[in-house]
Symmetry: C2
Subunit: 343 residues, 2 copies
């Protein structure tokens, strides 16, 4: 049996604050290219790994969440696209492409009980889309927008972190649904992309605004029906002052707060009462029964040229930590992916 | 036409901070006991007036809410129970009892377009109940609990300001629904009432607790399914750390924050995501189609001895401002009512 090098990105230990390069270390081991007989699992060669903000939550010593923390001393776990190399599972054979939870290393042994494991059927879409547009982030956008936000045609929709992995699809789905859509992002380049490539009606750079409440009043003189919140913090506080009656807020992420031990706190929640706003935290994993419909609809939109999807692909597993760390300062332009290997 | 004295409680002007006695002044005028011909309205003698926390919101110069601010120099407006004295409206005749919006004065002219105006049919229930158990606060409890909280049998329910006008009915409805119910209040006497008269499973005095997060963990070791929030602030922040998966938070009031210009802010909203919590602000006025069902169910519960209702009745319109101001320091024991006159 061939023995090969297996490069790994190891999680060093629980942290406070913003993730740093030093929170990870590279390790090179050896591995036999086989799925042990009787294991019922299969061995994959990782092709793409996904950098997602929720992973910051797994760097805390907090065990009461929907997903367990990373294990110190072990490789990071995350969504990926991979090719089956050897298999003890009759459902998967060498050459198959899968998406689902894998680990940050060249080769991983996947347990058949792995959640959200899917076989990728060959088509002409980029493989990396299975951790982006057609994977967890895309499905988060779809489930969050349609199931949590209850959108109606002509609704005024605001999306924060709008050029990110989730936000860019939320905005495009909202446009296809007949909504008026404004997005916020943190650089001029991202704002240009929102307006010129992603079809948002308006977009602004939140870093250039001194009074977000006034900014939102300017972009939404009649108020916001739907706020798809990827950031929390000051932007959420400002949005709360600008909601319309019976507005909806989907709490998808809190990237502005992920790394802050003592966040400032949200002061404008009282607006939920006079405006009768519904605010809901959600996880895509509660809506997996809708995944087949999502996949068909969104892949068709893409093939028909009705939506685009912007990816930021870093080459090489060794550059994975930097790609992940960069999420928290907005270094990425679109969905952040790490290419580990080519097929 | 008889001319009589008409005592009024005048709203002096917009305020910041906690309502004070000095924000109001008594004025005594004269009034003809008639409803002007052609007005389509009717004149009432006010019997009971309701002191409700939402009225604090009407003391601000803020015109973007569901209800307009009080008019400086004019009597306060609020819910009341009154007897018709003269009428230019064929639907109402002298001697009829009504509940709805009236003004803080001996006699008021009611416009037929007045919202939530109801004729009180004679029965053996206390008239004051029409601004409490069977009026806006009772209906707030009913609509909030059944329509916003989606209760299930065996749910773990937490109610703050639990001995107040709304909270005491929420807790009793939850018990009748088969839930486990804990309430918080601000004195030992209120806590005793919650446990011994209102049938709550447990109750605690929040003023004696130094760590509300730990307190809630003690009372809800398995977490909270439903938090009916009447107070906002620190209690909401602590509840957010103790919600169960798919929990619901009904934001009914923020009495702890009503009078604070720069509240500290809520820091634990991120819990909405891993626990997929739904948090909704609501107003009873959105659910008025359910009022007849509420009235029948709750008055029957009361007549059958299945629920009780605790009122705090101050005598005399001149004591109205003190009764209202006392709400914000928890001076009231149960629903705060002012008796203006006897029938």
């Amino acid at each position: 049996m061939t023995e090969v090098e297996n490069k790994q990105v190891i999680f060093k230990g629980y942290i406070d604050g913003v993730p740093q390069l030093g929170d990870f270390e590279l390790k090179i081991g050896k591995l036999k290219l086989e799925a042990p007989k009787g294991s019922g699992g299969f061995l994959v060669k990782n092709l793409f790994l996904s950098c997602d903000p929720y992973m910051r939550g797994r760097m805390r010593d907090y065990h009461d969440s929907y997903i367990h923390p990373f294990v110190p001393g072990q490789p990071i776990e995350g969504f990926g696209v991979a090719e089956v190399v050897d298999s003890d599972d009759s459902n998967f054979k060498p050459g198959d492409i899968i998406s689902g939870f894998t680990r940050w290393e060249d080769y991983s042994l996947i347990n058949k009980e792995s959640t959200q494991l899917r076989k990728v059927e060959p088509d002409d879409l980029p493989l990396s889309f299975h951790v982006g547009l057609l994977g967890m982030p895309g499905f988060t956008a779809y489930a969050g927008f349609f199931e949590v936000c209850s959108p109606k045609k002509s609704d005024y929709v605001f999306v924060s972190a709008a050029s990110g992995a989730v936000g860019q699809l939320v905005g495009q789905l909202a446009k296809l649904h007949g909504c008026y859509v404004v997005g916020s992002a943190g650089t001029k380049q991202k704002v240009d992309i929102l307006k010129n490539k992603l079809g948002f009606d308006e977009a602004f750079n939140y870093k250039e605004e001194s009074d977000l409440n006034a900014t939102l009043k300017r972009y939404f003189p009649k108020g916001i029906d739907i706020y798809f919140d990827n950031v929390g913090g000051d932007m959420l506080d400002a949005a709360l002052c600008n909601m319309r009656v019976h507005g909806r807020i989907a709490i998808c992420g809190v990237i502005s707060q992920n790394s802050i031990s003592n966040p400032k706190g949200i002061s404008n929640l009282w607006n939920l009462i006079p405006k009768r706003v519904n605010m809901k935290g959600f996880l895509q994993s509660d809506y997996l029964h809708l995944f087949p419909r999502f996949y068909e609809e969104v892949s068709n939109y893409y093939k028909q040229g009705k939506i685009v999807y912007i990816e930021d692909i870093k080459e090489g597993l060794e550059n994975g930590p930097a790609a992940f760390v960069g999420l928290f300062s907005g270094d990425n332009l679109g969905k952040q992916v790490v290419r580990v290997a080519r097929q």
